[in-house]
Amino acid sequence: MNDNELSTMVRESVADIRSSTPVDQVIRRGRAVRAWRRRVPAAAGALVVAGGAALGVTALAPSGHPAPAAAGTAGSRPAIVQLAAWTVAKQANGDIDVTIRQLLHPAQLQATLRADGLPAHVSFSGHPDSAVCQPYSRNESVIVLYRTLTWTLTRGGSDVFTIRPSQLPSGSGLSITVEKTNSFPGFLDPAFALVHASQQCTG
């Protein structure tokens, strides 16, 4: 069997596969992504800059969570935490919108997500810390991550993720690894893994 015969065999093995999704459905979903994408900058635009706050953290309306020291608010945690590098916005339904503009301050992002109820391990080095986090199987990760995450690429160069902590299985967390991609200049290359939550991994 030569390479051509083998190639043909592989191609023919999947030739009957057809996408079952009508284009209208894809476009509807795409419109929802667009609408959601417009919502985040609108919310961010209403931010009040907390003067002198460390790392440029910005606070909006309180959401009843404990306040991070950097936000400088007493007894409450802002619904939106914004640094120059990223924004974390907790929605009323518990979903968390994360906008990443620069790959800076991963530890603070991890702490912010944890304060919002999401056990997470964040790395911007491009190398997930496999020594401290134990991942679930690929099949489990694929299904759960599909339910948990929506990822939007914005034309402005930001990557926005909506994370639904309610969809995570009990005792699990999210490993978030982001790096710049060589494949598509201007885009970030995020990777997510479902991990077992632990002190070492998700804090």
Binding site: D16, Y136, R138, T177, L194
Partner: protein, 172 residues
Amino acid sequence: MVVRTQQQDFAEFYSGAADECLRTVVVSIGDQDTAQELVDEAFARAWASWRTVSRHPAPKAWVVRTALNAGISRWRRRRREVPVPDPARAADLPAANGASASQVDPQIMAALMRLPARQREVVALRLILDLDTARTAEVLGIAPGTVMAHMGRAMAALRLDLQPELQQENQS
């Protein structure tokens, strides 16, 4: 003069690329239901960013790359060891060869699934999406030489795996 709307443009792209992208992701991850969900989401994101994606030199590759990124952690591609699945949740997941997998030749798919993930991705992009070595390297973020090495090893492994089947078919 015919003025095409962005939606018409996207619909035409979708019509010509959806099956091919789906097949590529099926070969990459092995599960057709999951592949369909991931490809749908990738096309939705393509539509949401259509002005950018439509100018991409290989929009189909963008879709496949986005689908794979959305669903498969780079962690899993880098780590060779298989973590112990949680049996309590395993029952909730669709079987690897679910009902819709009947459209796929099971023996060839099994042989593909025995390949390391990276070799499988290279086979999918080269043979199903018909990308050349350079574009495949770009999509996967690896060197062209590495693509060729993966392809060579994958073809050798598949030949070894499928040769008996082919001989059997020829005899019957």
